[in-house]
């Protein structure tokens, strides 16, 4: 009898291994959660600085320093979207007025691909669901072979269909509106934008890449910086409802400082 149980156990291990090997990669989970400290007890003092390297917190450079560090970090990025020569001036003009023109400032969705990788993936037969914890947004991505739908309006996150290529989920996204930017420096796009996202799992690390084509505005396809996300194993990282975005600042913007 014990020998019989042993054989059953072996058979079930082999069977489950075969199922995993034959099916698509398992992307389920919360990815890239920030490790948060315990909440400070009310009544206790706390002092925390948003890190701004080299900026004296008691000096008069704090606000300007925040803008400057962000602008310089982006300027130093090795790969930026390359626009058609006749549109380079328009990108600069939008960038100079970014403080009032960036659609994301007005609580609109950042859209694909600027919103980045999902914070949680829910994978079921025939579809994958991307959940975005910071914005309470979601995307439903069919993986059953159906084509893009023809009956939807252009949208911020576009129309997605997915397929598995080995360890990689490939998501093809079309039908965007033009009310998002690719980044903070005036990187506009047209409704003809086409995005291909690739999500590859190796062990407990998910690698996310996205490539943008836009035949109307980009000179060449642009691939965003690669993002790598760790699988969360802590119950504390379960997604919570994010605070809504409520725009209060626009009436008080008096200068065009670039952020």
């Amino acid at each position: 009898m014990p020998r019989f149980l042993f054989l059953v156990a072996c058979a079930s291990i082999v069977a489950s291994t075969m199922v995993v090997a034959q099916g698509p990669v398992d992307l389920n989970g919360v990815w890239g959660a920030a490790a948060l400290p315990p909440a400070v007890e009310p009544g206790k003092s706390v002092r925390w600085l948003l890190p701004l390297k080299g900026v004296d917190p008691e000096g008069t450079d704090v606000f300007k320093g925040l803008d400057r560090i962000q602008v310089n970090n982006r300027a130093a990025a090795p790969n930026k979207p390359a626009y058609k020569p006749e549109l380079v001036a328009k990108v600069k003009e939008l960038s100079d007025k970014q403080g009032v023109l960036d659609p994301a400032f007005y609580c609109k969705p950042q859209g694909v691909p600027r919103m980045g990788p999902p914070s949680q993936i829910v994978q079921t037969p025939g579809q994958v669901v991307f959940l975005y914890g910071a914005s309470n947004l979601f995307r439903i991505i069919p993986t059953d072979g159906r084509p893009h739908r023809a009956d939807a309006d252009p949208s911020y996150m576009g129309d997605s269909i997915g397929r598995f290529e080995g360890d990689t989920l490939v998501v093809d996204v079309t039908n965007f509106n033009d009310d998002t930017w690719l980044g903070s420096d005036g990187y506009f796009h047209s409704e003809k934008m086409h995005v291909v996202e690739r999500l590859t799992r190796k062990g407990d690390v998910l690698t996310y890449t996205a490539t943008v084509e836009d035949p109307l505005v980009l000179a060449t396809p642009w691939t965003l910086p690669v993002r790598q996300l760790k699988l969360s194993k802590s119950a504390a990282d379960a997604l919570l409802e994010a605070p809504p975005c409520v725009e209060h600042d626009a009436p008080h913007i008096v200068t065009l400082d670039h952020h």
């Binding site: 990815w31 890239g32 920030a34 600085l49 704090v62 910071a134 994010a242 605070p243 913007i253």
Partner: protein, 131 residues
Amino acid sequence: MKRFAVALAIAGVVSGSSVLAHHSFAAEFDINKPITLQGTVTKVEWVNPHVYVYLDVKDASGKVTSWALSSLSPGAARRAGVTRANFGQGQTVTISGYHAKDASNFAFMRKMTFADGHSVELWLGDDEAKK
């Protein structure tokens, strides 16, 4: 403190959560106009992209003026361990910060100090760079 800040920076890099775009603080607030307000917290609005605190300030004649104060984002506050419960709804507090450039009753809140002396400060910078 430095090690803590470095750890947070790394967490930010590996984090997958998308950060909401913020307005430039420099476009709204004047770092050269520090301001101190004492009053009662009437509302703590825990929203993106910035937490808002509303304060009723009473002058010597008894006239009440309502102020709005912007803090960092709810996500940044939480990375500091600060939740809505730390922001003193209904309590009498002293807030130090920086006045809005448009001179309205609006300011950036740097620090909230409570009657018992404890304080909550969410600010920006690098203590290593102090002059």
